[in-house]
């Protein structure tokens, strides 16, 4: 009897253990009237933007409940891993954030998201968004997401005080990279860092603007559909310009992330920095005055081109509550939603009807360019190439950062393009 009791206790312990081991799984399952919005906007100006958007959503849809599914960390890479596993187990959120454009390819191929061209048609969104943007969103005749905001990638941020000290006119504009090199030389001679840069992805960011400057808009677009040859002499020339630009940069780039590189310009330690216009928030929060404390201009050679990236929201296949998701997308597309979100985040609305009268002076210039300029897709931010292609390009650029071998860089880029264009 004693033994059986002991056996019984052991059995209970075993059962408990296995329950503990298997627990913790299972989906949350959004009920009626809920929409879970999955983003990586967990802090800073991104969080403020999301909060503002949620405010508009709750006003427009008092019956629906917003559930924040934000996952922080790694500039979105943590969130993407979590998302991948949720999609795999058929537990999609109500909607998720993704960069508009080629980054969506993977989700489309896996049938994770629904095409929403009909929704565009029905709700008249085709008239709300500029045509150039719709073209970039188009994937084989269908649109899969609703852009919430627009950022510009090809922007140079400069510190006028540093430039003046080096004998460079802060108001000068540069028609080409060659003209810019002369200014960079002067800044270097003055003892400041001519061009500040940070870790690998910011180097890809710089490379993309150089490719755009040297190849021009059309050939740059051709890089992503195979009509421009990555192995061509023009690309070699661009890569050489990139190599030359890299020589003007701070040696500790690998240890920095973009806010550090932008901070070098803010602190007057560096003359120029190439960064997307989310950098505006860094200047604004430190009470810097646009035009006096910092100036901006398009990367030399890319004037008249708007290198865009956009965050967007999707309609996942099997979303728990499609009606609620549609309501969320409605708010995202609406003029009120876009105004509230972008004012807080520091980006500009994709919706041309959004009220932008009280946006900041930099944002006003971006709004103007966005309406006039040719629009191209950013590489470093998921608009131009799929995630996997971008990973290969980043690896090649990172390798180049330590070896300085231009031919090797081009070889890496060519083989990456071959691999991803055929598939």
């Amino acid at each position: 009897m004693r033994i059986t009791r002991r056996v019984g206790a052991a059995l209970v312990a075993t059962a408990l253990l296995s329950v503990a081991a298997c627990g913790g799984g299972g989906g949350s399952g959004s009920g009626e009237g809920e929409v879970e919005v999955f983003t990586w906007w967990a802090e800073g100006s991104e969080k403020e933007g999301l909060d503002a958007l949620v405010g508009v959503f709750e006003e427009q849809n008092p019956d629906l409940e917003f559930v924040n599914g934000a996952v922080a960390g790694g500039a979105g890479s943590e969130a993407k891993n979590v998302l991948a596993s949720r999609l795999q187990t058929n537990d999609p959120p109500g909607t998720f954030q993704a960069h508009a454009g080629a980054e969506l390819t993977d989700y489309i191929v896996q049938d994770d998201i629904e095409p929403i061209s009909d929704m565009y048609e029905e709700k008249g969104w085709n008239e709300l968004f500029p045509e150039g943007l719709l073209e970039q969103l188009d994937q084989d005749g269908e649109i899969y997401s609703v852009p919430s905001n627009i950022h510009r990638a090809n922007v140079v941020w400069a510190n006028p005080a540093v430039l003046q000290k080096a004998g460079v006119d802060p108001e000068a504009t540069y028609a080409s990279l060659d003209e810019w090199f002369a200014a960079l030389d002067k800044v270097e001679a003055s003892g400041a860092i001519p061009l500040s840069i940070a870790t690998d992805w910011t180097q890809v960011h710089l490379l993309e603007t150089v490719l755009l400057a040297d190849l021009g808009e059309e050939a740059y677009n051709g890089l992503w559909d195979g009509s421009t040859d990555w192995g061509s002499a023009e690309v070699t020339a661009a890569l050489e310009d990139y190599a030359k630009l890299l020589e003007y940069t701070n040696s500790d780039r690998q240890s920095l992330d973009w806010p550090d590189a932008t901070q070098l310009v803010i602190d007057g330690k560096a003359g120029f920095n190439v960064m997307g216009d989310w950098a505006e928030a860094a200047f604004a929060t430190q009470d810097k005055e646009f035009g006096t404390d910092y100036v901006t201009f398009p990367v030399p050679g890319t004037d008249g081109v708007f290198d865009f990236l956009a965050d967007s929201f999707t309609m996942p296949v099997g979303a728990p509550n499609p009606g609620a998701t549609e309501a969320w997308l409605d708010t995202v597309a609406s003029a009120e939603g876009q105004t509230a979100f972008n004012k807080a985040k520091g980006s500009i609305p994709a919706n041309t009807e959004a009220d932008t009268s009280d946006f900041g002076p930099y944002q006003q210039t971006a709004i103007e360019s966005f309406q006039q300029d040719a629009i191209v897709s950013s590489l470093a931010h998921g608009a131009a190439a799929s995630v996997s292609w971008l990973t290969d390009i980043t690896a090649a650029v990172s390798k180049f950062g330590s070896t300085g071998d231009v031919a090797g860089l081009q070889e890496g880029l060519v083989s990456a393009a071959e691999q991803h264009l055929e598939s």
């Binding site: 033994i3 056996v7 896996q110 870790t199 701070n250 500790d252 690998q254 240890s255 390798k399």
Partner: protein, 296 residues
């Protein structure tokens, strides 16, 4: 039969959860991993078929992967040599009766309590490669000591950058190795030392011929412990250099990169290669221990 059940039943029942869990979550998943590495699952979609050893061929013809294997080898060699050297040295000094042994032991052992991620964040700053005016961390220290010529690019060095990552690892684990060796020293009976002294051996010869030989099992354990930790290095590199930095690529960081872009077959192949590398170190050790225990 009933008798046997009485004898073996309860113990078997008690260890069965462990057997089941280890069977499923360790060996089962290793099998799944190897299986995935033989397929063409390069996206999140299910695999379409088996491709044999194609993924492994792709890996071993990839310069970057060979570079990261070389990095792993360099890192392991530096980590092992450094940790064993300092661990042994400190243990010997304490064993010789340094004053304040308790304090030193604590100080040396403390770094081990810090996670690699936490110390990595600090070392990221210490090993900043800016030189001259903007130098920070160790380069700044060298600069202010007038040793500017010693400032280096640390982990961003094109060829030897990985060795800089071994510095924090050595710093963190030397204390642990010291504790191991100290226990080894204390395990040598005083009678043996006295006998050696009686026979007229000098202090050095006593250590050389009586004490050190008895430390070899400890040294072997230390090599195994440090070695298998070193072959799995990931967190320290992620904290200091980040995943995409070229100079500090090792198989684990490459596995992570492939995983995050949903190339599951390739990342599974890298995982299998890593498992094999660790097995080369661990299996002979396990076999040797098993034999020893049986002969006892």
């Amino acid at each position: 039969m009933h008798h046997r059940l009485k004898r073996f039943g309860p113990p078997l029942l008690l260890i069965s959860p462990t057997i089941v869990l280890v069977g499923v979550f360790v060996y089962g998943l290793i099998a799944v991993n190897v299986n995935t590495s033989l397929t063409d699952r390069h996206t999140r979609a299910p695999a379409e078929g088996y491709v044999g050893l194609e993924n492994y061929q792709a890996l071993f013809s990839d310069d970057t992967f060979l570079f990261s294997l070389r990095n792993l080898l360099l890192y392991t060699a530096a980590f092992l040599a450094g940790a064993l050297f300092f661990g042994f040295l400190w243990a010997w000094l304490l064993e010789r009766g340094a004053r304040g042994e308790g304090i030193f032991r604590t100080i040396y052992l403390f770094p081990m309590a810090v996670s690699f991620i936490a110390s990595g964040v600090v070392w990221r700053w210490l090993l900043n490669n800016a030189q001259g005016d903007r130098a920070s961390g160790l380069n700044r220290l060298l600069g202010s000591l007038g040793l500017d010529f010693l400032q280096t690019s640390w982990w961003t060095h094109e060829r030897w950058g990985i060795l800089a990552i071994a510095m924090p690892a050595v710093w963190q684990l030397s204390g642990y190795i010291m504790a191991l060796f100290l226990a080894g020293f204390r395990g040598v009976p005083d009678e043996l030392r006295e006998a050696a002294r009686m026979d007229g051996a000098s202090e050095w010869r006593m250590y050389r011929h009586v004490v050190f030989p008895q430390l070899s099992p400890v040294a072997l354990s230390a090599i195994i412990i440090i070695g298998h930790m070193s072959l799995k290095v990931f967190d320290l590199i992620m904290a200091i250099a980040g995943q995409s930095n070229y100079t500090t690529q090792v198989p684990a960081t490459q596995m992570w990169i492939e995983f995050t872009r949903s190339d599951y077959a390739l990342s599974a192949a890298i995982g299998t290669v890593m498992l094999l590398i660790v097995a080369v170190l661990i299996v002979p050790y396990l076999v040797a221990t098993y034999r020893q225990e049986r002969s006892r």
